[in-house]
């Protein structure tokens, strides 16, 4: 009895989950979200609008001046997730494996792949930047929105030993031991975004006791959301070496001056900077060119002529990276992104996305599926027309 009811209940749920009605409702909700996300970009910027509508579980609405807010719509995550569930289960449950339905299979599998690919990108894609000047080499990339506290052992003139403390550890606070060194760092304060200026007599005494910190007044700011804005994080770090205090340093992405200390005959530099990732190869900017159409300032092209040296695979070659012509190498893709310093400095966008091929595959599948499916429909329609015409002839 109980079993029977359970089964009934389970089937009903499955029916609801795989129903075409649900698909239509979800597609409509998705349209509403996309439209809202588009219009909201005017005020929130793309990043903010996407966070609010597409990469959320619920869309909250707060009346003007109110301190409470209520959810008004499901966010992009549940709508997209349910849509994929509905699509996959319905496809398996309802459709037969026949040639006539092959188009629908292809296109629905392609759609699942497309959304899965977006999911993979959202989770695993790493955006970074590589900045270099003509004649200079770079063997690291910098993450675009992530910071790290770097401790660099500069004792040896030939090479530096670098130790990076990721932002997440700094946010957690507490004491951090740097492996293989006698150093112990205590996070006194960490600010995701801040404003720095020269300290005047009116400002309270700085908490920093070493480096340039005592001269600087720092004020905490809320993190930015606009697309073209960047946070300036700062931190106060109490440095101990073998239990001896080396002072409290103010480190910040807004400070370019080098700060450091010495201990037991070794010299250290301490710096808060964009998180670096070192590459097993190096890129040298041989030439950056930026052409405009004659008599105008309309850019015709930007390109970086780069020498790529990989000691591991003894590769040494020249590559031209230009708009629409990225370099794909060892899982990373380098795109021409920006430039500066009177066209002698080039900025490459570096993307690591293990799922980059999925849209290509899914696009092919869906397009193929649509063509196959509509061809079958067209054939059916044609046959019906022929029959109708024959009937009409027969009638006269």
């Amino acid at each position: 009895m109980n079993d029977q009811a359970n089964k009934h209940w389970g089937t009903a749920l499955l029916d609801a989950l795989t129903s075409l009605k649900l698909a239509i409702v979800l597609l409509t909700l998705l349209m509403v979200l996309v439209l809202a996300c588009t219009l909201a970009q005017v005020d929130l910027g793309t990043h903010g609008a996407v966070e609010r509508y597409m990469r959320s579980w619920l869309v909250w609405w707060r009346p003007d001046g109110a301190s409470w807010s209520i959810p008004v719509l499901p966010g992009g995550a549940p709508v997209g997730g349910l849509l994929i569930l509905n699509l996959s289960v319905a496809q398996i449950r309802r459709l037969q494996l026949t040639w006539r339905k092959s188009g629908l299979w292809l296109l629905h599998i392609g759609l699942v792949l497309l959304v899965a690919g977006e999911f993979v990108s959202a989770m695993l894609q790493v955006d970074a930047r590589l900045t270099f000047e003509e004649g200079h080499s770079a063997n690291f990339v910098e993450r675009t929105r992530e910071y790290e506290l770097a401790v660099v052992d500069t004792t040896d003139a030939a090479y530096d030993d670098e130790y990076g403390v990721p932002q997440s550890l700094l946010l957690a606070g507490g004491s951090i031991a740097i492996a293989k060194t006698p150093l112990q760092l205590k996070v006194v304060a960490y600010m995701r975004n801040s404003e720095l200026r020269n300290r005047t007599d009116k400002d309270p005494k700085s908490l920093a006791t070493a480096g340039v910190g005592p001269e600087i007044a720092v004020q905490q700011l809320p993190p930015v959301t606009a697309d073209d804005a960047q946070d300036t994080p700062s931190a106060l770090i109490d440095v101990h070496a073998d239990g001896v205090s080396k002072g409290v340093f103010l480190v910040s992405a807004g400070i370019s001056a080098q700060q450091g200390f010495s201990h037991a005959g070794r010299h250290y530099r301490i710096d808060l900077r964009l998180r670096r990732e070192y590459l097993p190869y190096s890129l040298t900017l041989k030439d950056f060119s930026h052409d405009v159409y004659p008599g105008t300032d309309i850019p015709k092209n930007f390109s970086s002529l780069v020498r790529l040296v990989h000691p591991g695979s003894s590769e040494d070659r020249t590559v031209l990276i230009s708009m629409n012509q990225p370099l794909r190498f060892e899982g990373r893709t380098f795109y021409q992104s920006s430039f500066g310093k009177n066209d002698t400095l080039s900025v490459l966008q570096v993307v690591q996305n293990p799922g980059w091929l999925m849209p290509y595959v899914s696009c092919t599948l869906v397009t193929l599926g649509l063509i196959v499916h509509f061809s079958f429909s067209l054939g059916r329609l044609q046959r019906r027309r022929v029959r109708a015409a024959a009937a009409a002839v027969g009638a006269t």
């Binding site: 075409l20 009605k21 698909a23 239509i24 597609l27 409509t28 998705l30 349209m31 996309v34 439209l35 996300c37 588009t38 219009l39 970009q41 005017v42 793309t46 609008a49 996407v50 597409m54 497309l114 690919g117 977006e118 990108s121 894609q125 955006d127 405009v292 159409y293 004659p294 008599g295 105008t296 309309i298 850019p299 015709k300 092209n301 930007f302 708009m323 629409n324 990225p326 893709t333 795109y335 992104s337 966008q349 570096v350 993307v351 996305n353 980059w356 849209p359 290509y360 899914s362 696009c363 869906v366 397009t367 649509l370 063509i371 509509f374 429909s377 067209l378 329609l381």
Partner: protein, 597 residues
């Protein structure tokens, strides 16, 4: 039967005459000079070499929003106007070419609002100082945030400055002309004047020499001073002298020499410029528009009177319009060396072309006159839209680096615009269906079914192209920026279209909608496509200060309103008598309000 054949033949001849109309008419302009030959002279501006005719048309479009100007009781072509602006600026200063209709801008100049919207440079001359300071103050504000006054004052000053630059292409204002500048070229003062011309001149008329590329007159005078002979300078001076004196023969001779000089220096660019001049004169899109309208009118007439006789006539007109439209597209593609869609203007031309072709194919399949109406109407409307979009300047401008990829322009952009064509054709059929059910006394259910099957087929077609186009756009973004999808407004707009068609088709497969639902949703699809095509481009503009004064925004709003009206018509019961019933003070009664699909 024989009479009909004659009628069709006569129509074909008329259509050919309309198509070729640009090549008739007098080549001679005022002062007895050959204006057409002058229009063929090459000039470099905006990064490419174009015939002066193109330059004149675009400049006048930007300044006056029209390609002609009324002066001294006659209509001057753009080239004739440019002749005066370059060679006789004192006269051109009196032509009323500047539209000023913003009351606050008029108030700034102490002028009352009047029926006369056009003002000459002479009338505005004394106010340029005030306009300039207001414009440079307004320019510090982000264009999207400007108030109506700020936008209007910047717009007016930009046009004044453009005209000012055109006047200084050949000489310093108030001087004695180019021959005088030439005579002074070797003096210190002359060099300073040459420097000023070099900075102001709007375009470069001197073809490349062994030393350096295209030069403007000022740069030419400097080069001459530095010892590089510039034969073009003498020729332009001769042109000016002859033009002012009304000496047509000498003017034409100087123009011919100048053309020969250009051909020797840069034969490729001159070949393209000559082709472009023919394209300008043929006005394929304008004449195509005329033919489409004619076809549309004949089709309408055919519903009321002798359909068997009139429909072939309409077909001939439609075919001629489509042929011209196609020819124009091919011509532009060759001229630019790029796929047909490179900007908003060309997307309108192309979407209309795609819709017209689709309509013609439907007509061929169904032969019910409906496809032909859709073809003619969409061809006509899109060319009107394109005509208004052309007022921003050169429609064959150079492509910015990030867009400079013929491969992606040819795949992503073309595919997605064909998708737009599809949704518009589906919407147009649905609109026809909606009007028809209120206009006709009795509805033939077979005809309704045929229209529904046309709409359904076109929606499938549109889904295929919209989807492929959207994903190809993602792939292009992945290729050039390293991200496949960024939820950018234009991407979202494309996604909206795909989602909407997907909803329409699934709702139909599920049986939730039938004929009427399909039609209503197809009409809504047109509105969604218009939003994603134009609306998202105005996001910053439309929702902020510029608001309803922006012409494009009001046009879009009007289109949305029309879609809403059609939507209402498609949902209302056939031959809806609401108005009449209300007027009679009776309760609403739907005569034929039985359920219908």
């Amino acid at each position: 039967m024989k009479g009909q054949r004659w009628l069709v033949a006569l129509t074909a001849v008329t259509a050919t005459l309309i198509a070729a109309s640009g090549f008739f008419g007098d080549r001679k302009g005022r002062q007895g000079v050959d204006v057409v030959a002058f229009g063929e002279l090459p000039a470099q501006e905006g990064g490419r070499v174009k015939p002066i005719d193109t330059l004149a048309r675009n400049a006048l479009l930007m300044i006056r929003s029209k390609q002609t100007v009324r002066a001294d009781g006659r209509t001057l072509s753009a080239s004739e106007w440019l002749l005066d602006a370059m060679f006789r600026p004192q006269l051109a200063d009196t032509y009323a070419i500047f539209v000023v209709d913003d009351p606050d801008v008029l108030g700034l100049m102490g002028m009352p609002q009047s029926a006369e919207r056009y003002y000459s440079f002479d009338k505005l001359r004394d106010h340029t100082g005030k306009l300039q300071s207001q414009a440079s103050a307004a320019r510090r504000v982000d264009p999207k945030q400007r108030t109506r006054f700020q936008a209007a004052v910047v717009h007016l000053f930009d046009r004044l400055y453009l005209y000012y630059r055109i006047k200084h292409t050949l000489q310093i204002e108030g001087g004695a002309g180019l021959s005088d500048e030439l005579a002074r070229a070797h003096t210190q003062a002359g060099q300073e004047r040459a420097q000023a011309i070099a900075e102001l001149a709007y375009f470069r008329v001197l073809p490349p020499t062994a030393k350096g590329g295209w030069r403007n007159i000022g740069e030419g005078l400097a080069a001459l001073h530095a010892g590089t002979p510039q034969p073009g300078l003498e020729l332009y001076a001769a042109m000016q002298k002859a033009y002012v004196a009304g000496d047509g023969a000498n003017f034409d001779a100087a123009v011919a020499k100048m053309l020969a000089l250009g051909r020797a220096a840069d034969p490729t660019a001159l070949g393209i410029a000559a082709h472009e001049l023919q394209f300008n004169r043929a006005q394929p899109f304008y004449n195509g528009m005329v033919l489409y309208v004619a076809a549309l009118l004949v089709l309408f007439a055919s519903w009321a009177w002798r359909p068997q006789t009139l429909r072939p006539v309409a077909y001939v007109l439609l075919a001629a319009g489509l042929l011209l439209h196609t020819g124009g597209l091919v011509s532009r593609t060759i001229l630019q060396g790029r796929p047909p869609v490179t900007n908003l203007y060309s997307s309108a031309v192309f979407v209309g072309w795609g819709a017209a072709v689709l309509g013609a194919v439907l007509e061929r399949l169904y032969r019910n006159g409906f496809g032909a109406v859709v073809a003619a109407a969409s061809g006509f409307v899109s060319l009107i839209v394109a005509h208004h979009l052309a007022a921003d300047g050169d429609t064959m401008e150079m492509m910015r680096a990030v867009l400079d990829s013929n491969f992606w322009l040819a795949t992503h952009v073309i595919t997605i615009t064909i998708g737009y064509s599809g949704t518009f054709v589906a919407g147009a059929i649905a609109a026809g269906w909606a009007i028809r059910r209120h206009a006709l006394r009795s509805l033939d259910p077979e005809a309704g079914k045929a229209l529904a099957s046309m709409t359904y087929g076109i929606q499938c077609f549109a889904l295929l192209f919209s989807f492929a186009g959207t994903v190809l756009g993602g792939i292009w973004a992945d290729q050039s920026w390293g991200r496949f999808w960024g939820w950018d407004p234009k991407e979202n707009g494309a996604l909206l279209i795909v989602l909407w068609i997907a909803i329409v088709l699934h709702a139909r497969w599920g049986g939730y909608i039938r004929e009427r639902g399909l039609m209503a949703m197809s009409i809504a699809g047109m509105a969604i496509t218009a939003f994603s095509w134009f609306g998202v481009n105005m996001l910053g503009v439309g929702l902020h200060s510029y608001g309803f004064t922006d012409k494009a925004f009001s046009a879009l709003a009007a289109f949305m309103g029309l879609c809403l009206l059609l939507l209402g018509l498609s949902l209302a019961p056939p031959r809806f008598r609401l108005v009449r019933t209300l007027a009679a003070g009776l309760p609403v009664q739907h005569g034929a309000a039985t359920p219908h699909g």
